[in-house]
Amino acid sequence: MNSKLKKYYPLLPVCVAYLILFLVGRNVTGIWQLVSTLLFYCALGQAFNIFLGMTGYVDFGYVAFLGVGTYGMATAVTGLAGYEGLGVGVIVIGFALAVIMATLLSMAVGAVALRLRGAYFAIATIGVNEGFRYLIEGANLWNGSSGMIFTAELNQILGRDLAGRVMTFWADILVLIIGVAAAVVTLLYMNSKIGYALTALREDEDAAKVMGIHVTKFKIIAFITSASFAGMVGAASWALKTPYVFPPEVFEIHYTIEAIIIVMLGGAGTLMGPLVGALIYGVSKYYLSIFLPGFQLFIFALVIIVIIVLFPEGVVGVLKGKTRNNRLKQLIL
């Protein structure tokens, strides 16, 4: 029993970090905006890590899953605006739709692209993101390039007061919950055969196959899981926080780049890494934009090069190495 429980100790620092973030946000005036951004980066990193970190495959089209998740919530809210009795039920339906749509897209992309190796996969996914955006615009799906604005519908179902609270507060709390849930799922995977299979295929795909691992199956499991969390992040952070959606914004590749930086900086494939990476990235981006506006991207480009060269295992990877021989090791994963 005790050793079973021990496997979950690494969730402790994750929860503590989120608690501190929440308390700081609630108690320091004027800081909720920053905290909200940080919560977004944390959830984004934690979700992306399940794929990028655990498989070693880079998906440059990742933001598309946030995009369809945003559309999922938007579709639910606009479609059900007439059913005022639904109340917050509409949000539950919106999340379900976001997850279903992200899952379907990831199955379609994964079935084809995940048969490609490393760099070929990465290149294919760039095409998917752009292609999907042009499909929405060209085929006039979901209003095409005019996008969807659904503030009125949200007000109609939830009432003005609650809708306002959702946009300014509850959406952020939902993002927090999604981030924690993604961390829990990451740890569950790490402790199961899925995690072992993913580590094996990340390190050496051919050797993994010879050891009896159905690598495509496990890559798809990681991909779908990661994509469905991304869909939820989109639904909460983009659709509920700002109830409108325009294709160029939700398929913007720079969110994918940010997610990559966060995961690499914190430590790809570690549990705590995305959280640490998100906090470092989010806070430094915030201050850089105040003190050195315009230079953030340049500085982050340098930072990421330095990390890849000097600390390929990221902050948490280095910490893990340093605590291997002391009691802290149970907490750091």
Binding site: Y196, E203, D204, K209, V210, M211, G212
Partner: protein, 249 residues
């Protein structure tokens, strides 16, 4: 009944015939040596047996089941394990985790959960004398330790057939003796057929092998019980020189 049977297997790379019309069979628990100079097609033969490549011609049977086109990940659970000529550890994982992967997806994979697989790994680690490296990242092992770990990883699969590609290369002759002895005793205990591939005729391997196959430029030129094979004029010419002494290198 043969455990593994190859019938007229040919594998080409473009115009190069790496394995040319090779047939042979191994019985359960047998220890077979395959000898051939660098480039004679040994590794390619292993790759055909465990499904990394499919042959252009010929058939591969395991337990009388045709596995010629069975994907490699389905062969491990049937009981085909291997080690690589150049070790391929899962570098960031510990030795224990590497070996547990063998247990998790091998012949017992369906029955073993993660904790049970880690227990199997611990037994194998003890048996292989890898105890002090148990929690080390496999990437940090020396090449010889990596080879040992790979053998452990394959044994943890509980294979019926173990393919070892140059498992002893780079080892000190005394260590080779110890290792071959250990592998053979595990093989006998668990009734595992073993195919050891070597570039040179090594005393340790040849001494223990029940049967020797000699490959030359992709073709099987000798397939006989060890003492007969060693007396074969082609083997004498190619490997033993005039003195007739076996080499250890």
């Amino acid at each position: 009944m043969s455990l593994l049977r190859l019938e007229n297997v040919t594998k080409q790379f473009g115009g190069l015939v790496a394995v040319n019309n090779v047939s042979f069979e191994i019985k359960e628990g047998e220890f077979l040596g395959i000898v051939g100079t660098n480039g004679s097609g040994k590794t390619t033969l292993f790759n055909v047996i465990n499904g990394v490549f499919f042959p252009e011609q010929g058939r591969v049977f395991f337990n009388d089941m045709d596995i010629t086109r069975t994907p490699s990940y389905k062969r491990a659970p049937l009981g085909i394990g291997r080690t690589f000529q150049i070790p391929r550890p899962f570098a960031s994982a510990t030795v224990r985790e590497n070996i547990a992967v063998g247990a998790m997806f091998g012949t017992m994979g369906k029955q073993l959960n993660v904790d049970q697989s880690l227990e199997v790994a611990d037994h194998v680690i003890e048996r292989m004398g890898l105890g002090k490296h148990r929690l080390k990242s496999a990437g940090l092992l020396t090449p010889v330790e990596k080879k040992l770990m790979e053998i452990g990883r394959a044994l943890a699969m509980r294979p019926r057939l173990l393919l070892m590609d140059e498992a002893m290369a780079g080892m000190h002759p005394n260590d080779i003796d110890d290792m071959v002895e250990m592998i053979i005793s595990i093989g006998k205990e668990e009734n595992i057929a073993i195919v050891a591939m070597v570039e040179h005729i090594m005393r340790a391997v040849v001494g223990m092998a029940e049967k020797l196959i000699v490959l030359d430029q992709g073709e099987k030129i000798v397939d006989a019980p060890t003492d007969e094979a060693l007396a074969d004029s082609r083997v004498v010419d190619a490997y033993l020189g005039k003195s007739g002494e076996t080499k250890d290198a």
